[in-house]
Assembly symmetry: C2
Amino acid sequence: MSDQIQLSLQQVRELSEGILLYNGFSLDHAQSITDTIYACQQDDCQSHGLYRLLMCIESIRSGRVDGSAEPSVTDAGPSVVKANANQGISLLALRAGMPLLIEKAKKNGIAAMAINNCFHFSALWPEVEVLSSAGLAGLAMVPSHAWVAPAGGTRGTLGTNPLAFSWPRIGKHPFTFDFATSQFARGEIELYRRAGKPLPEGVAIDKQGNPTTDAEAAMQGAMLTFGGYKGSALSIMIELLAGPLIDDLTSKESMEFAQGKPEAPYHGEIIIAFDPHMFSAGQVGKNNERAERMFADIIEQGARLPSQRRYQARERNKASGYVSMPKNLYEDLLALKK
Amino acid sequence: MSDQIQLSLQQVRELSEGILLYNGFSLDHAQSITDTIYACQQDDCQSHGLYRLLMCIESIRSGRVDGSAEPSVTDAGPSVVKANANQGISLLALRAGMPLLIEKAKKNGIAAMAINNCFHFSALWPEVEVLSSAGLAGLAMVPSHAWVAPAGGTRGTLGTNPLAFSWPRIGKHPFTFDFATSQFARGEIELYRRAGKPLPEGVAIDKQGNPTTDAEAAMQGAMLTFGGYKGSALSIMIELLAGPLIDDLTSKESMEFAQGKPEAPYHGEIIIAFDPHMFSAGQVGKNNERAERMFADIIEQGARLPSQRRYQARERNKASGYVSMPKNLYEDLLALKK
């Protein structure tokens, strides 16, 4: 298709690092950000691939993100790692703290890492997949900006608050999911607005707190959580565990901090790691088979495990060495180096 | 109302313990089961109060529950407690393991308890509220029986898989929720069937895997998760964390084990405890205020926090010293002592 362009995986890496370095990120930041963008682009996860550089560069150009912030990792307790991003993008702090998180999880059975004072723009699945690559199960949660109303409410209080989970499968890609607790992603509503299309029911409310299918009214009003009051409760849990628990901002505080600027939100993140070896008293093989029987039962009935499309794209793109992306996005990215 | 009966809280305790002892439970089991039943009845949580004794007694009369099983608690790792119920009801194992879980969470920041080889019939919120009473945040998950289809599937694979969370609020009842990841509880569908009422859309599928609003067809087919593919992913996560992770049964294995008997399901449970003191580096007061601002923002817009109705019932029933329950249930309970 003429509106698509092919880039080699090597070009993806070079383009990303080049843009980040040109705009003032240190080499460490450029590399850690690029690792995640590369992983997303390799899986055809367009919404969190090179596209995210636009927001990332906006955040450093506004002067609020520190492009050379050195994260500090603290051993905050036998099973707790604190990784302070010191006003940098979250990913270098994540990379800095991950080895200690993995070590603590394997030593103690369960451990958690709090990333504090970070700007956050990235998909969570690459983060929990680092844990499952190490043989651990991982659960990650972050707040965002207060665009989402609680069940029964009339205005934005909660973030889109994604939750990602990964389970290691022996000899296979992990079982991984990563979803926003809002019914729709913010960007999806924006796409409906641009296309002048009505939203489905149950996705948003207007400024007065009434249900709306008008995407423009939804952008002015608030989004709704998935799954009614249950999704809303889960979203509040994410606010608490990735905010007040770890001494960091709620989505509402994060939004106030941003003062209306279209930057990456500034807040914390929590990642929990579980060691199947310790929890099962060494019975990992038997329990891997038990999990596999469940996955097989799901697949046999025609249901899909999450992330399968992503894994197929990964195989395909790794084999060809190329990914494709919209040409106009590529042009927008090139402009970031001018 | 003439179809209701008033019992004093003391009578609730005596009735429950009396029935349990009469049917062969040891004093320890009778007391630990009664503690939870009493807490539920005190909160007017009828579905998990004295009513649950019917299932509990059915389970011991069939000879599969060991009414005098001694749980064994193992210090399975610096942050892991294993409480083996040894074919007893879960609650004595829970009680036996809880002090070590709390101690480990306070010492290490995060800790988890796996309860294994237990029959399970009880609400999870009293369990996580034990943690929030100790100043910890708590998260509990259990599988059940494979009545629920995964998103896009045609048959039961997943349990109703409840998830409960509690957050300690200084000087207030905790923020607690406890929900099934199925759209409806199994008992609700049964109530629709008895009443001959059609189910809402999106709650169940029939034996052929087609959507149905016929409650009888739903009982023969499968229930659906809340929140579509997101709720389904969450339910699979609960299967993994409360099953293969901890070397215990999935909902499908639990259902096979039951061989069609209407007993309490037999499987495991996982409870995770977080210490706000360690995660916030001692900033509990400041972060309690931060959480309270979020709760206030939710309440101000007319939304309800979960569990508020329950807490109101608790205040009212503690003050009066009496609870009310259906007369015919009371008569069914008395019959358990004959």
